[in-house]
């Protein structure tokens, strides 16, 4: 069962992977070991594939560094559920194929370490305290995510999903 890692508002990408541990500072094979190095010591060691990050408002703000999301992907994070997302982080997750879903109540229902499960089709996050509501993704983003990311989508379809 995936576990919840609960964060607050305005979690910036410097907290996810500090600049000094960028892949081009420490190596492409090591940077994920520094995920939440200062903000949640032990995260990279303890996180298990499928675990979910739960957050408040403006999740992933700050630097455009995609390696913050790449680190989560390498560690097998199964999705991010927050009240809302900073725009670059949101795009980076969609592009790399990590589900990012808005939920008004996930951050209040889920407690750190809870066993939780993300049901995208049913648009709920199941937590011990009850089901949190998920806001459905726009079809455009959903199509890219379903393909596993934007590179995979483009490889399969040759162009972006239709917008008009």
């Amino acid at each position: 069962m995936p576990r919840a890692w609960v964060f607050g508002d305005d979690l910036d990408t410097d907290q996810m992977v500090p600049g000094r541990y960028a892949p081009f500072m420490v190596g492409q094979d090591k940077f994920q070991n520094y995920a939440f190095y200062d903000a949640r010591p032990g995260f990279a060691k303890e996180v298990r594939p499928g675990d979910l990050l739960i957050g408040g408002e403006n999740f992933g703000c700050g630097s455009s560094r995609e390696y913050a999301v790449a680190a989560l992907k390498k560690l097998g994070v199964g999705g991010v559920v927050a009240k809302n997302f900073a725009r670059i982080f949101f795009r980076n997750c969609i592009n790399l194929g990590i589900p990012v879903v808005e939920s008004p109540d996930a951050v209040t229902l889920a407690k750190d370490g809870d066993e939780v499960s993300l049901d995208l089709a049913g648009a709920v996050l199941r937590t011990p305290a009850g089901n949190a509501t998920l806001r459905p993704l726009a079809p455009f983003a959903q199509q890219i995510l379903s393909a596993g990311g934007v590179v995979q989508y483009l490889a399969a379809h040759g162009d972006f999903p239709k917008v008009d």
């Binding site: 910036d12 907290q15 081009f24 492409q28 630097s63 725009r87």
Partner: protein, 463 residues
């Protein structure tokens, strides 16, 4: 939201570029007039292009590549990455290439004329909003988005809602456009412009460099783009309609503005400098795409001319580009700063993001003219970063404490020296990493309307 039939700048640009009549909320696929790529993303960008099956970028004349984020290379791993980048640039035949020491990507993109007003530009750095300084729709994106843009020459965007920021009046002496934009961030908050475009009205004949300060800082409010209205570079069609719709309007009277200070660890925890007077600092950073231009260095030199900085403080000056560096050498500004005891760094991002230059030790206190004061941003996560204007930075370097720069600018020689002597004596000899500075930062946070956030909680847990 106000209702109206007209279009904002974002709606005008994205309608023109997509060839459709679009409004906020619509999705568009738009051609890109230029892609900016910087050193720290090159491996991921190359991998993305390869996975896309693209051997070359779509148009080498529309790509600019910059080595600025960790430059010159501070470690062998970074040096290897730079070497790979140079080989890629050569193999691709990209002519617009600025190597280590040429300056910050955003400064060069604007000052060398790579930003066409009224077009869409995407950049691999989050402060690519800076291109709105000349009327471009500049948006920061991650490495894979940049790889896709390089491969296809197009990107997708949701047409953003807009926030109208209007300035009136003129800045008083000792108050700068940095103070104005920090006042705006104080009003809007770090997520108040999330997904939105911030439109700046009423900037008058503000110099191009100051417009970069405005547009670039919109990133710190979560904005997708920040565009200055009515720049001299913009074509006639690039004017928002008077009946355009805005999410929100913010008005700032520049004539009553005080110098502003952002309290660590949030860019939107901003107070008037008068509330922060006396906070000791160990290191002062003058530079970045936000405040590393000639005018910023001249403002610091106006305070430091003929004087030495406090023996308790280090001052690092990093000009934003070689052009700014050479202009500041030519007019004597760098000479004044060096004689005052400043370390002058080669042009680039410098210590702004803690990868090169003078990174901060644990529990050191920095006054930075850059744009972010996140925990760990400039080095140790135990360091504190206050943000302020070049005037505030210069006074902090001179006295060792945060102070209102205006009395110094008005004072006679004798009064000036007395002001400095008093502040230095009050500060004492301890490093700023004393309990006092920690307490002061906490007091200030307690005194202001609370913004909740992981960063603040993190600080409490650690203390």
């Amino acid at each position: 939201m106000t209702t109206g039939g007209g279009k904002t700048l974002a709606e005008l640009i994205l309608s023109k570029q997509s060839g459709r009549d679009v409004r906020a909320g619509d999705l568009v696929i738009v051609p890109i007039s230029r892609v900016m790529v910087h050193d720290s993303v090159i491996d991921a960008v190359m991998a993305g292009l390869k996975d896309l099956g693209k051997a070359s970028v779509w148009d080498t004349s529309k790509v600019g590549v910059f080595v600025d984020h960790a430059a010159p290379a501070p470690t062998p791993v970074v040096a290897d990455s730079h070497r790979v980048l140079r080989e890629w640039v050569r193999a691709q035949g990209i002519k617009t290439f600025y190597d280590a020491g040429e300056g910050v990507c955003h400064q060069i993109m604007v000052e060398e004329g790579y930003c066409e007003p009224g077009t869409v530009i995407v950049g691999s750095d989050s402060h690519s909003n800076s291109y709105g300084a000349v009327g471009s729709f500049g948006a920061g994106m991650g490495a894979t988005d940049i790889a896709v843009a390089l491969g296809l020459g197009r990107t997708w965007l949701r047409v953003p809602e807009s926030i109208k920021v209007s300035f009136s009046g003129t800045l008083r002496r000792g108050v700068t456009i940095k103070d104005a934009i920090m006042r705006v961030v104080r009003e809007i908050g770090t997520d108040g412009a999330r997904y939105a475009c911030v439109e700046f009205h009423g900037v008058g004949d503000l110099p191009q460099g100051d417009r970069i300060t405005l547009a670039g800082m919109t990133t710190e409010m979560g904005a997708k783009a920040g565009i200055v209205v009515g720049t001299p570079e913009a074509p006639a069609w690039l004017r928002p309609d008077p009946d355009a719709s805005y999410l929100r309007a913010v008005h700032i009277d520049l004539s009553t503005l005080e110098p502003q200070i952002a309290i660590p660890p949030r860019v939107d925890q901003v107070s008037d400098v008068s509330d922060a007077v006396g906070i000791p600092v160990d290191i002062v950073f003058l530079g970045s795409c936000t405040n590393g231009r000639l005018v910023d260095m001249q403002q610091a030199a106006a305070v430091l001319r003929g004087r030495r900085i406090s023996p308790r403080v280090r001052l690092e000056v990093v000009p934003a580009s070689r052009r700014q560096f050479e202009d500041a050498m030519a007019d004597g500004t760098l000479g004044i700063l060096s004689a005052a005891g400043a370390v002058i760094g080669s042009s680039g991002c410098g210590p702004c993001l803690g990868r090169t230059g003078g990174v901060l030790a644990g529990e050191e206190v920095c006054l930075s003219t850059a744009n972010r004061n996140y925990k760990g941003r400039m080095g140790s996560p135990d360091a504190s970063i206050y943000l302020g204007s070049p005037y505030v930075a210069a006074v902090a370097a001179l006295t060792g404490v945060i102070d209102d720069p205006r009395p110094y600018l008005e004072a006679s020689e004798t009064d000036f020296d007395a002001l400095v002597a008093r502040r230095r004596a009050d500060r004492g000899d301890r490093g700023a990493a004393s309990e006092r500075s920690g307490d002061r930062s906490r007091e200030l946070l307690m005194a202001m309307p609370q913004r909740t956030g992981a960063q603040v909680i993190g600080m409490d847990e650690e203390d």
